[in-house]
Amino acid sequence: MSNNGENQGSVSKLTLKVQRYNPDRDKAPYMQEFTLPFRKGMTVLDGLLYIRENIDSSLAFRASCRMGICGACAMLINNLPRLACHTPVEEIGEFTLEIKPLPNFAIVKDLVPDTSSMFEKHASVKPYLMRDDQEEMEHPTAEFVQSPDELESYLQFAYCIKCGACVAACPTSATGKLYLGPQALTQAYRYCGDSRDNKSGERISAVDPYYGVWGCHFAGACSQVCPKGVDPALAIQLLRRKVFAQSLGGKERTPSPVAAPPTGSKEKIPVPEFTVTQDDRS
C-alpha cells in the first residue's frame, strides 16, 4: 500500500487536494490543499466534513445520508467517480487524495455538480409503472402479483440511487450533451422489464431517437464505477433488444394481475406503548 511517505500504522495526517470554484468570483477552478488529522476508518466524506467544520466553512459539497443511500456525495476521488461517504481513505491506499466534482456536469460550486440535466433525462424516460387499468392505478385495491423470478429480472437496476457516477464516467455523455446517458437508460429498462408494467412502448419511443439508446458505445465505464453494483451497460443492451423486439411486432405483455383480496381478518399488531396516540396529543 502506497502511503506517500507516511507509515500507515502511524499515519496521523491526511492531505486532501480539493478543487475549488465559485462561479461568482473565480475565472476558473483551482486546487486547494488541506492537511487534517487522519483516524482509522475515516471516509473521504469525514475528511471533507472536518475541513468544513474546522478549517474552511466555505467549502461546498453535497451529502446527506452518509450511508450510500441518497447518492448526493458522488465526486471524483483520485480520478474515479465514487461516493465520498462510502470510500474509506484506507481503501484507496493513499494519504494524499485529489478530489474534484463529477465530470460531465456543470459546477454549481466547489464539489457540487449541477445534476439537473440527469434528472430531466431521467424524467423523460417515464420512470414509473404504466398500465391499462388506470382505475386500479389511481385507487389501488391490492398489490400487483410478481414472482421472485420476475422481480429478479430487473431488481439490480432498481438499486440505482441516482448518484450520477455512471454519467460522470461515460465517454459518450462527455462528448454528447443530448445523449440520455446510462442512468436514464438503465431506469427505462428497469420499468420496461417490470412485469407489472405494460406500456413499455411509450418508454421505448422516448429512448429510440438518435440521442437515446443507440448512442452507447459499450465502453462499460458506467458499470465499473457504479457504487451500487448496477450494470447500466447491460441494461442498455437489454433495452436495445426490447426496442428491436417491439419494432418487429412484439406485443406488450399482459401485466401482472392484482392480488386476490386477503381472506379472513388477522389479529392486529398491538400498538407499541411508546407510540403517541391522538388522545395523548389532545
Binding site: 459518450t172 462528448t175 454528447g176 450533451k177 443530448l178 445523449y179 419511443s205 429510440d208 431517437p209 438518435y210 440521442y211 437515446g212 443507440w214 448512442g215 426496442v243 428491436f244 417491439q246 419494432s247 418487429l248
Partner: protein, 117 residues
C-alpha cells in the same frame, strides 16, 4: 424520429455486404481456388471480363445491391458520427436529407456506368 427501422436496415445491409462483397472478393482474388473446384471465371480483372460482367443483367443487379448496401451502411455510420456532435433535431434533419441526396446521387451515378455500357 424513430431510429430503430434505420438500425434494423443497417444490420440487414451488414449481412448483405458480408455475403455479396465476400462473393465479389472471392471471384476477384481467389480465381485459382475457384478453378480448382471447376468454376473457372477466367481473368476477372481483365478489361474483357469487366465489360462482360457490366453488360450482364445478373451482374448489374448484383453490383446494384452491393452498392446500395454499402452506401446505406456507410452513410448511416457517418450520420451516427455526426449525431454525436449533439446537433439540434432540426440540424439533424438537414444532415439526414443531405446524406440521402448525396447517397442517391452516388448510387445513380455508379450504376449508370454498367447500365450505359
Amino acid at each position: 424520429m424513430r431510429e430503430v427501422p434505420l438500425r434494423l436496415w443497417q444490420l440487414i445491409a451488414a449481412a448483405v455486404i458480408f455475403f455479396l462483397v465476400g462473393t465479389h472478393l472471392i471471384i476477384m482474388h481467389l480465381g485459382d481456388i475457384l478453378s480448382f473446384f471447376g468454376a473457372d471465371m477466367g481473368e476477372p480483372t481483365a478489361w474483357s471480363s469487366v465489360m462482360e460482367r457490366a453488360s450482364s443483367a445478373w451482374w448489374t443487379v448484383f453490383y446494384g445491391i452491393v452498392l446500395a448496401a454499402v452506401l446505406y451502411h456507410g452513410f448511416l455510420g457517418l450520420r451516427n458520427v455526426i449525431s454525436e456532435l449533439s446537433l439540434s433535431p432540426a440540424a439533424m434533419r438537414v444532415i439526414n436529407r443531405a446524406l440521402i441526396v448525396v447517397g442517391i446521387g452516388i448510387f445513380a451515378f455508379a450504376l449508370y456506368i454498367p447500365i450505359s455500357t
